[in-house]
Structures are given as structure tokens and as C-alpha cells.
Symmetry: D2
Subunit: 354 residues, 4 copies
């Protein structure tokens, strides 16, 4: 467990974008981490962060962050922990470089999520996948390491499935998502496309939900690989006129008989290592089940647990697969920046980094 009398310097890559700003916001007054470096586009390198960023979150950016110089993505800096909000193509090139240089890189990018020796980590779900890191460092000869978090729509689904998988086994899942505009970054979705409209397509999202969920719920084998969970998954992903908060309508087929009450009990009883360790960003409870007929809603529930909890509701029988429910998560907190942050906290608490 982290001693907490030594603060750890951290850096944020791609700090001016939508997810980058969330990192900056969540690191404000963090009890363990000190933000010491931010990177952004070449073009703006050398400016103060405060000059380079157009702050789009409510309230003000933390003053300390505003004063930091914006570094180019590949500039050297002195921080053992790095949070990456880089776009995919840049992440593909830069993240391994930083791992070579000895940084522990916690990445929100999709580039290496499916790479065999890279954990796709949700601390409450598959903390044992951390074991991949030893293999990663050994085989690649990296001084540092690379840890990824899932896609913003996958993470809450995986969290909701975990207690069901443990208690009853999950065999099949059908899911339709209603996703917030912030999930597309900035400027992202044009207002003319989404006002009084739904965009019924998000590139690669349905595939990501299927393959990432299977890896996350997969099991670590003796030779340090992940055997994907044998769950059939079918997703339909829709973009709706909501600022923050992805809602997923899920149907599941379980391996064992269970009632809606059994599912609810499994969720309500669920606690995991981050809660046991009381990690700074760990929500407790991590899964909230609401009884009202019309909850969760993005507007009213996305900030539950500081945006780190997921909220389940409308648990009821499904005529096709057995059970259905809805689950909501804050896509740029639990689904992105907060996910990376919690991953880092877990590894610090375990003494793996820091």
C-alpha cells in the first residue's frame, strides 16, 4: 500500500482535448499525484497550458495546471506515471516510446487494448490481469510499462456483467447503447447532426464492445495470456443528444437460473479490491442499483460516486435471453480519464509503480 508521504509526479499526454481536460480536472487536489507535465499538439508547444487550452468543463481549470508549459508529445519529462489521452495514431507511436524510457503509461487510447501482453484493466473486474505486466516488461525489455483501459461504452457494461459472471455465468449478451456526444471528443459531433436527431452509428464501437468485453472478462492462463470469455455479444450503438453519460440497454443469458432479485443482490453485494483498498478514485459502492421505474438517467445519475460509479436499473425478465436491465456510466470519467486514474492508483497501492 502506498505510504502517501511521498507524492508521485505525473504527466498528461494530449492534455487539451476532451479526455485530457478530464484528466487535468480529476488530478486537481489528488492525494497521491502531482501534475508536473502536460503535452499537446506540436503547434502549441511552448505556450502555457492556460493559453493553449479552451477549457470546456464547468468551472475553472486548476490554477497550477494553467501555469504549466505545454510540451510536445515526444518531449522528455520527469514523471514515473503518465496518463495518455492521445488520439489513436499518436498513441500508437508515442506510448511504447515512453514505456521504453521507463514510464508507466496508463492509456485511454485504443491502440494497444487488444495487444496480447497489455492489460485491458478495470480494477474492480480483472485486477489479476496485472500479471501480464511482468511478461510485458520481460519480453519487451521495457523499463516502464503500458496499461490500457476499455472503450467508454464497454467499461460500464463490463462492470455490470462482472458480478453476474461470478455468480451465475454469462453466456450471451445483447446490448443497445445510447451514447453521449462527449464520447466523440471535441469538436466531435456537429450540432446540425444531433439536435433533434439520433445518429445510429459509431464507427468500430460495436466491435469494440464485443471484443473488449470478452478480453476483460477473460481468464489469465498459466502462460500469462488472456483466454477471452466465451460470451456471444451483439451490440447496436447509437449517438443521442446528451452531453455526458452513456446508457446501455442490456439483455443477458446466464448459465444458471436466477431471479431479478438474485441479480440485484449480486450487484449490491459487489465490492472489489479498489473499494477494499479505499483507493482515492474508487467509488463505494461501485454499482448502484436504483428501484425507480425510470432510472438511471444520464442527467440525474451520471455523477454518482463522482462519476466513477455505474448505475443499474429496470432489472426485469427478458423474454428472449432471460434477464434485461439498463446501466449508465459517465463516459469521460469512469469511461475514460477516471478509469486510467484508478488503474494507476491500483498499481501504486500494490507497489508495482510509484
Amino acid at each position: 500500500m502506498q505510504t502517501q508521504n511521498k507524492r508521485i509526479p505525473v504527466a498528461v499526454l494530449g492534455a487539451t482535448g476532451m479526455v485530457g481536460q478530464r484528466f487535468i480536472d480529476l488530478l486537481r487536489d489528488h492525494p497521491w499525484f502531482d501534475l508536473v507535465a502536460v503535452t499537446g499538439s506540436e503547434r502549441r508547444a511552448g505556450q502555457r497550458y492556460g493559453e493553449a487550452v479552451t477549457w470546456r468543463l464547468p468551472g475553472e481549470a486548476p490554477a497550477a495546471a494553467l501555469a504549466l508549459p505545454l510540451l510536445a508529445s515526444d518531449a522528455p519529462f520527469d514523471a514515473p506515471i503518465v496518463f495518455s489521452a492521445l488520439p489513436t495514431e499518436e498513441a500508437t507511436v508515442i506510448e511504447p516510446l515512453l514505456a521504453v524510457r521507463g514510464h508507466a503509461v496508463f492509456s485511454n487510447a485504443s491502440s494497444y487494448r487488444m495487444t496480447e501482453d497489455v492489460p485491458l484493466l478495470i480494477p474492480e473486474v480483472n485486477a489479476d490481469h496485472v500479471a501480464l505486466l511482468a511478461r510485458q516488461q520481460r519480453e519487451r525489455g521495457w523499463a516502464g510499462m503500458l496499461i490500457t483501459n476499455p472503450n467508454c461504452s464497454t467499461i460500464q457494461i463490463a462492470l455490470a456483467l462482472k458480478p453476474l459472471a461470478d455468480a451465475f455465468g454469462v453466456q450471451r449478451m445483447q446490448v443497445t447503447t445510447l451514447q453521449a456526444i462527449s464520447g466523440a471528443g471535441y469538436p466531435g459531433v456537429a450540432s446540425y447532426d444531433i439536435l433533434d436527431n439520433v445518429i445510429p452509428y459509431i464507427s468500430q464501437e460495436e466491435e469494440k464492445i464485443a471484443r473488449e468485453t470478452r478480453k476483460i472478462l477473460g481468464s489469465l492462463t498459466d502462460d500469462d495470456t488472456i483466454a477471452p470469455a466465451p460470451i456471444a455479444i451483439s451490440a447496436q450503438c447509437m449517438r443521442v443528444a446528451v452531453r455526458e453519460g452513456h446508457l446501455a440497454c442490456v439483455s443477458v443469458a446466464l448459465a444458471q437460473d436466477a431471479t431479478s432479485a438474485d441479480l440485484i443482490a449480486a450487484w449490491r453485494d459487489f465490492r472489489a479490491e479498489p473499494q477494499a483498498l479505499a483507493l482515492p478514485s474508487a467509488p463505494d459502492p461501485v454499482i448502484i442499483v436504483r428501484d425507480e421505474a425510470d432510472r438511471p438517467q444520464p442527467q440525474r445519475d451520471r455523477d454518482a460516486g463522482g462519476g466513477m460509479a455505474v448505475v443499474v436499473g429496470r432489472v426485469r425478465p427478458c423474454e428472449i435471453l432471460g434477464h434485461k436491465f439498463i446501466v449508465l456510466g459517465h463516459n469521460t470519467i469512469r469511461g475514460a480519464a477516471g478509469a486510467s486514474l484508478l488503474n494507476a492508483e491500483l498499481l501504486v497501492a500494490r507497489g508495482v509503480v510509484g
Copy 2:
């Protein structure tokens, strides 16, 4: 077939509400029907329609309608055909009264949709269910008759399923709907509830989709009842910040093997009696299949075929049920007022009424 040299007087019940206004709008310049009577709330009876209504559709209400006196719901009037946009409780009482008096009542209310001798009619899907009317009149001793149309979210789903049922057999359907605010009537959904939000619940909607779809696709038996189609159906219904146009994300299991191309061909080839008869409100084609990755969208596709066509897209394999796609329909035109209108046109063309 209607000779078209004799125009038929029609009345609209509940003419000031959201669906009532759609009836008034669609009857403007109708080639067969003359609007001669409108009813509304007791409280406003005696006013001109133009005084009683707050017109909420784009453009102006038809001048002729504005001049009509608003009748109380139970006032007598002289029109063989009646369109009902009454709220459920009123419809329950008044519609049978009008059938007794000899009117052919085309109702958008849910009161009698599931009644054994009342057709739940979509002319392109189950025109043979019109046979129930003979039994209805005989057993009830009605001079008139009562015909209903489905719920606004059911109708487009049933239309999309029909060619699949005919060609391949439909065994199971999972559907998630993203429904427009106009589906809740006026004032309906409070703006504070839906702006930057999703309401993940619509009372009774999921049940209606299941039972109405089974009746619509059911078969007429020798004793003039409908044997519901043996399709397992599971629905999740969401309200989104869209003005008009319900979008449904559908997965289906078919009885026979088929490819996505086979489904598309079945939809594109689909024509039915309303198209053959060239009924005034019949769209042709009735099912439009779009090839773009991100269509149909409520904003761009809801007015297809004057709001009477349904638009299918994103046809692709489903890992669970075999096939998935999305389908969009205009909920207050094809899903309500236009549905009743087309039902009336069919019965006029067949010589059953008028």
C-alpha cells in the same frame, strides 16, 4: 374501388391534441374525404376549432378546419367515417357509442386494440383481418364498426417484420426503441426531463410492442379470431430528445437461413394492397432500405413517403439472433394519424365503408 366522384364526409375526435392536429393536417386537400366535424374537450365546445386549438405543427392549420365549430365528444354529427384521437378513457366510452350509431370508427386509441373482434390493422400487413368486422357487426349488432391501428412504436416494427415473416418466418425479436417526445402527446414530456437526458421508461410501451406485434402478424382462423403469431418478443423503450420519428434497433431470429442481402431483397420487393390500389395515403415504396452506414436518422428520414414510409438500415448479422437492423417511422403520421387514414382508405376502396 372507390369511384371518387362522391366525396365522403369525415369527423375527427379529439381534434385539438397532438395526433388530432395531425389528422386535421393530413386531411387537408384529401382526394376522397371532406372534414365536416371536429370534437374536443367539453370546456371548449362551441368555439370555432381555430379558437380552441393551439396549432403546434409547422405552417398553418387548413382554413376550412379553423372555421368548424368544436363539438363535444358525444355530440351527434353526420359523417360515415370517424377518426379518433381520443385519450384512452374517453375512447373506451365513446368509440362503441359511435359504432352503435352507425359510424365507421378508425381509432388511434389503445382501448380496443386487443379486443378479439376488433382488427388491429396495418393495410400492408394484415388486410385479411378486415374479416373480423363482419363478425363484429353481427355479434354486437352494430350498424357501424370499429377499426384500430397499432401503437406508434409497434407499427413500423410490424411493417419491417412482415416481409421477413412471409419469406423466412420470424421466431424471436429483441428490440430497443429510441422514441420521440411527440409520442407522449402534449404537453407530454417536460423539457426539464428530456433536455440533455434520456428517459429510459415509457409506461406500458414494451408490453404493447410485444402483444400488438403478435396480433398484427397473427393469422385469421376459420372462426374469425386471430391466432397470435408465435414470436418471442422482448422490448426496451427509451425516450430521447427528438421531436418526431421513432427509431427501433431490432435483432431477429428467422426460421430459415438467409443473408443480409436476402432480407434487403425481401424489403425492397415488398408491395401490398395499398400500393396496388394506389390509395391516396399509401407510400410507394412502403419500406425504404438505405445503404449508408449511418441511416436512417429521425431528422433526415422521418418524412420519407410523406411520413408514411418506414426506413430500414444497418442490416447486418447479429451474433445472438442472426440478423440485426434499425427501422425508423414517423410516429404521429405512419404511427398514428396516417395509420388510421390509410385504414379508412382501404375500407373505402374495398367498398366496406363510404
Copy 3:
């Protein structure tokens, strides 16, 4: 000044509505006040607040409030300070009754705002109007008292004008407001009326802005009346698709020459009694001036100072009246519940109540 070792019991009238919920939310963990009673509609009296309310603000209602029994509006309770979020007609009857019974009533209703012996109070603007209360109690023989706060669109305008009135004199003001839907209460504006739309009319709002502003900025005369400020005011009030935060586009004619920089300096230098007393709900600064070309915005600035600050921007010359700027305030916090709360804090700090 309040000694703070004695906590003061308070009640909220009309606690289940939009503004009532804001009161409940703002009283959570208040350093001076203990919520001991809530009232609501007759029909729900006897239920727990938690059963009676549909909580519409983000997050959960405070647990202590949820457990309180909901009283009828005219039920007796034991709390020296009462916050009223009653609708106008009820407020007209009940607020004087409570003042007779000895309560200090802090009202958000419009019923008595323009009454001669009732302060229309903004602590930063016209704290001297508190002197009306002595007259009010004397002439009416009330054991308690009645203090009102302005309309939700007036308060921020009056706050922005105050430093200008003090430094330069204000002669004329033209204002167009873009007001949030929460200003209309719940259910308030129908979603079908406001989505992809503007409603260019709010009943009585333009008149309220004119007459309330003149009273607030008016001067207390020797005989304890308020001489309205001789400012010509013209308002146009629009409703827009924003959840919270009223934006006002203001042009002013000043009595003395001044530059934009002079106005900005007047705002930035402005501090008043609530800031000097460090009242719990007093923002400091109370007026924030932003330099960006496109601020303030409802989304990004409404929560400044916990929703109690007002944010000014786009200060520039006006070709007609001399100066123009925009000003934003949170309509249900600074413009409603927070306004009443700050009024109460001022009177407690001054030893007038408590």
C-alpha cells in the same frame, strides 16, 4: 454577527417543486441553519418528503430531508426562519399568516415584492432597505416579518447595475434575456415547445424586470418608503433550450462618461456587506468579469461561486446607449433559493432574526 454556536431551525414551504428542491439542496450541511420542517401540497401531506418528492436535481436529496414528514402549507411548525417557494396564489394567502405567527418569511414568490413596506432585497445591492421591516412590523402588528427576493431574471441585472449606478449613475437600460427552462418551474415548458425552438414570450417577465429593478435600486426615504430609481427600462424576454442559467444582453446609458475599462474596474472592485461579513452563501467575488470574447455561457459559468456569483462579459461600447455587455446568473440558485438564503443570512448576521 451570528455567534454560530446556536443553530437555527428553518422550514421550507413548497418543498417539492423546482425552487423548493433547490432550497433543500442548498440547506444541506448549512453552517447556521437546520431544516426541521417542509410543506407541500395538501394531497401529499403526511407522506415523508422522500415519498412525496420526485428529486430532479443531480445527485441525491439530503437524507435528513427525505425523512421529514411533509406538512400541509398551513400546518404549524416550530422554526423562526421560513423559506417560501410557494406558487403565487398560495404565497399571497399563507405568507402573511406565517408573519403574523411570528416567523421571518423569506419569500421567492412575486406576491408581495412590490408591496410598499416589504423589502425586495439583494444583500449586495440594497441592504439598507432592511429598514422597511421596522415599519412593516409596527404598522401591521406582525410578530414576524416578510422579506422578498427579486424575479430570477431581475436579480442578476440589478447586481450588474449596482456598481455602475454607484459610480456613474444609470439612466436607461435596454435588455434582452435568454432564459432557462427551469425558470418556469416543473413541468413548466413542454419539450415539444422548446426543442429546436425559442419561445419569445414569458408572461409578465418584461414588466417585472422593469419595476423590480427600479425598486431594488431605489432609495430609502425618511418616511421609510422606497423611491424607485428613475431609470427607463425596456426588456424583451425569450425562453431558450437551456436547463439552468439566465443570460441577459444589456445596453445602458450612464450619467457620467466612462470607458469599458471603467465599468470593468467598478465591477471588479465591487464588494458589499455579505462579502465583508463572509456570509455562508455569499460568493466572493460576487461579480466576475470574463475577458474571453465568448463568455459567459450558461453551461460553463452558471455554477460560478456555487451558483451565487454573476458573470459579466463582452463589455464594449453601444452605439445607442453608450455601453453594452452580457450578464449571466444561475436562475434557481442566485435567482431564487440562494437569494432567499442569503437574505436570511444577512438578517441573522445583523441580529434582526434568529
Copy 4:
């Protein structure tokens, strides 16, 4: 007057953008004009228009347009009339080139609106400014000519002021606009910036309203220049979450005494040359005055007169300037593509081009 037995070939520059698509849509079935050429970005030149465009208007693009090859902006084509929806920088270079080549260029770009010998034309307002064209051709030696239409927020204001200027004289105008997102083109405003928000700034818009209005209402002098109308104008421009339709809140000081009824009469009596000539795109009436307290609204009134009429409402005294009212116009029809089209129709009817 156009003989109408000879159809005129026309081209659209910048045909794939927001305004370009409006041109294409409005030219569908035009009684005088045949669309024969479309230009777009270099990068897409050579594709069919149907491949190059992502059609964002409701319904389908006209089939004939979809089949046209997309030309590069500077490619030669054979069409006497050219409609330009080019971005400013491109328009600056290309429009004069086309005028040299002999085309009559009707431009929606801002590049040359304030140029001394270029008419800034609204056929109902300043048709006499067409006289500038003779000077333009003479002095520049152009075989063709260049005619501009005003900014999308100016045009409706100028139309509303015209009858007042004629009847009473206009001395001062204060205006606040609530502008639709389509006014910013595509992708234009990011959805994350405008959903549940107002953006209180549109670059250069306030200046354009002031200077363009003065030119449009200016008078043609003997030496073929325009003396700007001596009207003091102050504008504040806001972007709101509306798809189409700019709303302006106007206060005016008139030179002569008048009542609200006088203003309404002036608007209702107003007809101009396009109405007299019954030009294909001319609305009649061009100014609609609504009596309801809450009209015009973008949603319900933007399509009045096919989007070519402007709708005035809430006419009432202003405490500062004398009169106030609101006026609405469709920004991409009357405020852009339709404006250019009507300009071309006027010049064809007068025999100046075609």
C-alpha cells in the same frame, strides 16, 4: 419580363456545403433555371455530386443534381447565371474571375458586400441599387457582373425596417439576435458547445448587421454610389440550439410619431417589385405579422412563404426607443440561398441577365 419559354442554365459554386445544398434544393423544379454545373473542393472534383455530397437536408437531393460531375471551383462551365456559396477567401478570388468571364454571379459570400460598386441587394428593399451594375461593368470592364445578398441575420432585419423607413423614418435600432446553428455552416458549431447552452458571440456578426443594414437602406446618389442610411445601430448576436431560423429582438426610434397599429399596417400593406412581378421565389406577403403573444417561433414560423417570408410579432411600445418587436427569418433560405435566387430572378425579369 422573362418570356419563360427559354430556360436559363445556372451553376452553383460550393455546392456541397450547408448553403450550397440549399441552392440545390431550391433549384429543384425551378420554372426558369436549369442547374447544369456544380463546383466543390478540388479534392473531390471529378466525382459525381451524389458521391461528393453528404446530403443533410430533409428528404432526398434532386436526382438530376446527383448525377452532375463536381467541377473544381475554377473550372470553366457554360451557364450565364452563377450562384456562389463559396467560403469567403475562395469567393474573394473566384467571383471576380467569373464576372470577367461573363457570368452574372449572385453571391452569398461576404467578400464584396461592402464594395462600392457591388449591389447588396434585397429585391423588396433596394431594387434601385441594381443601377450600380452599369457602373460596375463600365469601370471594371467586366463582361459579367457581381451581385451580393446580405448576411443571414441582416436580411430579415432590413426587410422589417424597410416599410418603417418609408413610412416613418428610422433613426436608431437596437437589436439582439438568437441565431440558428445552420448559420455557422457545416460542421459549424460543435454539439458540445451548444447543447444546454448559448454561445454569446458570433465573430463579425454585430458589425455586419450595422454596416450592411446601413448600405441596404442607403440611397443611390447621382454618381452611382450608395449613401449609407444615417441609422445608429447596435447589435448583440447570440447562438442558440435551434437548427434553422434566426430570431431578432428589435427596438427602433422612428422619425415620426406612430402607434403599434401604424407599424403593423405598414408591414401588412407592404408589397414590392418581386410580388408585383410574381417572381417564382417571391413570397406574398413578404412580411407576415402575427398577433399571438408568443409568435413568431423558429420551429413554427421559419417555413412561412416557403422560407422566403419574414414573420414579425410582439409589436409594442419600447420605453427607450419608442417601438419594439421581434422578427424571424429562415437563415439558409431567405437569409442565404433563397436571397441569391430572388436576386437572380429580379435581374432576369428586368432583362438585365439571362
